[in-house]
Structures are given as C-alpha cells and as structure tokens.
Symmetry: C2
Subunit: 176 residues, 2 copies
Amino acid sequence: MNFKVKKSEIVFKGKVFDLQVDEIEYESGNKAVREVAVHPGGAVIVPVKNDGKLIMVKQFRYPFQKFMLELPAGKLDKGEGPSKCAERELKEETGYSSKNISKLGAITTTPGFCSEVLHIYLAKDLQEGNHNREEGEYGMELFEFTLDEIEEKITNGKIIDSKTICGIHLYKNILN
Amino acid sequence: MNFKVKKSEIVFKGKVFDLQVDEIEYESGNKAVREVAVHPGGAVIVPVKNDGKLIMVKQFRYPFQKFMLELPAGKLDKGEGPSKCAERELKEETGYSSKNISKLGAITTTPGFCSEVLHIYLAKDLQEGNHNREEGEYGMELFEFTLDEIEEKITNGKIIDSKTICGIHLYKNILN
C-alpha cells in the first residue's frame, strides 16, 4: 500500500463494537486518520417454511427510534462460529429451529468504517417452538410473507434494512 | 416505549461518524447501554451506460485492508441533499456525469448500532469526463460489467458489499 500506520489505538471498548482510531501517513508525507468500528460480525437467517413463506421479525432499532422489518439476525458470541450463531438466533428470535441450514453468502454492511461481516444462511424444514428473546428485544413481532409480498415491501420502502434485502437477493439467486 | 433515556453522551467526535453512548432504563428497572455510531448518511449510484453495462469501482477498504468492488458511493457533505451527493460522488469517483438521475430507494446499513441511511440513485445518459478522487481513494479502479456478470460475482463472493447488492436488487426490480 501507499501508506504506513503510524499509530493505532482502541479509544472506546463497547458492548457491540470497539472504536479504533489509526493515524496513517501516505508516501507523499500527507497524514490522515482512519476510524474503524471493530465489530465481531454476525449471522442472518432466511427462514423458509414448507409453504414457501419467509419468516421475518419486526423489532425496535434504537438508532432510528422505530420498529423495522428484518430477517432474523444477531451478533456472534465470543468463540461462536457463524452457522451456530444462525441456529441460535433463529431459535431465540423466532422460536423456530432447523436442522437444514445452508450458507448463501456473506456481506460487509458498511466497509468504509466498520469491520462487520454478516454470514447469511438459508434455513429450511423449520420446527416450531418457543422463542427466547432478550429484554432489549421487547416488542419483537413475527411475520410471514411470500417472496412477492417481500419484494413489494422493498419496492415501497417498508423494508429498508440492507442485510434483509441482501438475504432476499441471495435466496432468489439460488431459486433461479 | 418501555424504556427511558437516563443519559446520552457523545463520547467521540470523528471525521466519519460520532460515537453516542446512552444509558437507558426499562420499566422493569433494568438498565442497559446503547451505543450508536452517528453517521450523516450518504448516496449510492447505479450508473448504467447506454449499452446496459454498469460502472463499478474497486477501492481500498481500510477496515478489511483490501480492495473491494462496489457501486460508487459517498457520504453527504454538511447541508448537502442526497441527490446532489449522488451527482457529486458519481463525478468524483468515476468521471461520469448525468442529468438523468432518479431515486431507487434508501437503505439502513446496520440499524442495530448505526444511524447511517444510504440513498440509492439510478444514473443514466452518462457523459464521460475526468474523475476527481481524494488521496484516500488512491488505487481506485473503474470497471464495467453486465448485470449477468455482476450477479455471477455476487454468487461467487467477489461482490460482498451490501449497498452494492441492494443497489443491484432495486435496479433489477424496476427492470421487471
């Protein structure tokens, strides 16, 4: 590369992410600062019922102070692999479990300033059960939609979450 | 809602985002912390040439220390509207300009902890010109791909950027 890292510091250690601030110097001598939200990554699940409907969750998103419609998803626990995380979050958020989970891909959510990678899984042959939500997940509601209904919600701005649109995109690509 | 904000503090003011840490208290009496990367938002451009090919950029992404293939995009300048930002970033990053820019939608990149909203625009009738990149955009390269080539790269993991996959998804939905 055309720069060197002169200093790297974790200026904040958070529950969800740490904040790293690096000072870099280009070959030209110019200096710059790079801020990185250091995130452990997570898993996103595309849960498809035998009738073809997809299960989604509506949950309160603090940065926007509103409820948003999304695919189930969550952060990797320490030492947890992404497929285990997908199984766990599916169960925790929806109550459903699955022994038929396969990988659809992985995405970076906002690679300019955040190291988050989300691994996306398809879950089929769903078994109904009880969910196990955390207190912060108060008010979370389950919905079932056909793919056409989801596309309509993407088109009219009712679904705006990027991991959800990416999950739908990857799922549709294996159907074609 | 079932909580009150007891304290809200900007603990870091950055170039790209600020870090806000809130202490909240649920009706139950339980307390929790909410970390928010406060981001101004930005614009993403889906630039389509008259021959149907899309213009993409490959650029160095510091959090991953590697080059990634993405749609052109950038942060809103202070006071700048998203369509102006789209015009400006298209020109800066690719050299192309367009008087035929229309909105495809908007996405949240990672709504659990970041307030970033990206507005996605379709740009047609492109006029070639000179780009005007910043030093941090060193090594940025332009590519042209058909939609089929882009889908292949999404499927094989060569394109993993979420705003790019969302931009392609929204663009394909207006073609159908």
